[in-house]
Subunit: 207 residues, 2 copies
C-alpha cells in the first residue's frame, strides 16, 4: 500500500515535471499555389506532381518549380508545396525577402491581407500577384491528444527553449491543434541559423 | 511603433527592477586584416582608410574592400574593419558561410584555432588564408562601471531577452568587460532577422 502510494507520488511528480517536447523543423522558402494560379503557370488543369511527403500529413513538395521575381532580385526555381490552397502564398525568410526587395510581414499561414505581391513565372505563363508574400510566424503543429495531456489549447502562445552553443528561447510561438497535425515546431532559416538548428533538434515547451 | 513603445516600457520596467539593459547592434559580414595581409592585399605599408566610426571606441569601417572567395561562392567586396589585428579574421553569419561553402565555427573574436581559411583578393595581390573564418558568438561589450553596478564579471555568461513579434531570449551570451568598451550587444544578421531586430532595439540582461 505504501509502495503503491510512493509509485503514485513519483508518477505525479514526473507528470508535473514533464514538459511537452517538440521536434523542430526548419522550413526553407517555398510557395503554395491556388488552382487558378496553377492553371496560369502550369497550364489549365495540369496537376501538381507530388515528390516528397512532408512531416504534416497530406503536405508534399512537388516536382514543379516556379520563378519568383521581386523588385530587386529573384529566385529562379522556387519549390512548390502541395496540395493547392485557396490563395497562392510565398513563404520566405527575412533574408529571402531582402533578396527579392519586398517588405514582407510576419504572418500565420493563410493570413495574407496587406501582404506584398510578386511575379510568378511558370512553364505555361505568368501571374502578377498583388499579395501573398509573407514570413511564416514561428508555430507549433500539435496533435490534440498530446496538447490535452499538457493542458495546451488551440492558438495558445508558448515559449520554446532549445539548447546548445546558440541556445535560445523562442517566445510568441503559437500552437495550432488539429487531428490532422503531427507535432512539430516550424521555424524559418533565419531562426534555424540563429539557434544552431540541426535535424532532429528538440525544444522544451514552456507554458 | 507599438513594438518600440513596448521596448521602451519593458526597458523602463527592467531599469526599475534594476536589471541591466543593453542596446543591440547587428554586425554584418566583415573582415579584419593583419598588417602582413594588408601589405599583400593593398600594398606594402599602405594604411587603412577610416570612413565611419563604429560604436566600439577606436573601431571603424574602412574605404578598402576585399574580394573573399570560398569553395562554393564569393563576396566580391567585403568591408574591412580597422585598425589592423594580430591575425586576419573574417566574420560571417551562418547564411554567409553557406554562400562561400565553408563550415565556420561559432567563436569569440581572436579565437581562430581550427577555423577554415578562404582566399582574399585586394588591389595589390592575394592571400590564401589557412584559417580565420568564423561566426561571431553573440556577446556583450560592457563598460566595467555599468557591470559592477549589476555585479557582472568579465566573461560571465548571461541571457538577453528582447520583445516584439519575434521576441526571444538569447542564452549563452558572453559579457566582455573593458574600459575601452561602450555597452552594446552584438548579434549577427541571422540572429537579427530571427528576433525582428530594429536599430536601437533594447534587450534586458537576465543574470
Amino acid at each position: 500500500m505504501i509502495d503503491e502510494l510512493i509509485d503514485r507520488v513519483y508518477a505525479d511528480v514526473a507528470f508535473r515535471l514533464s514538459r511537452p517536447v517538440v521536434e523542430l523543423e526548419a522550413s526553407g522558402r517555398h510557395l503554395h499555389l491556388s488552382r487558378a494560379d496553377a492553371d496560369q503557370l502550369l497550364g489549365p488543369g495540369v496537376p501538381l506532381t507530388p515528390v516528397h511527403d512532408l512531416s504534416q500529413p497530406g503536405q508534399y513538395t512537388c516536382a514543379e518549380r516556379i520563378r519568383v521575381i521581386g523588385p530587386k532580385g529573384e529566385f529562379p526555381s522556387l519549390v512548390v508545396v502541395g496540395p493547392e490552397r485557396a490563395q497562392s502564398q510565398i513563404e520566405l525568410s527575412l533574408t529571402d525577402a531582402k533578396v527579392l526587395g519586398v517588405t514582407a510581414p510576419v504572418r500565420l499561414s493563410g493570413d495574407l491581407a496587406k501582404t506584398p505581391g510578386v511575379t510568378l513565372v511558370g512553364p505555361a505563363g505568368r501571374v502578377d500577384l498583388t499579395s501573398g508574400v509573407m514570413i511564416a510566424q514561428r508555430h507549433i503543429h500539435m496533435d490534440p491528444a498530446y496538447a490535452s495531456l499538457h493542458g495546451i489549447r488551440d492558438r495558445q502562445v508558448v515559449s520554446v527553449r532549445v539548447w546548445g552553443d546558440r541556445g535560445m528561447t523562442f517566445h510568441n510561438v503559437i500552437v495550432r491543434l488539429s487531428p490532422d497535425f503531427a507535432t512539430y515546431m516550424h521555424i524559418d532559416y533565419d531562426e534555424a541559423n540563429a539557434c544552431g538548428f540541426r535535424a532532429g533538434m528538440l525544444g522544451t515547451v514552456i507554458i
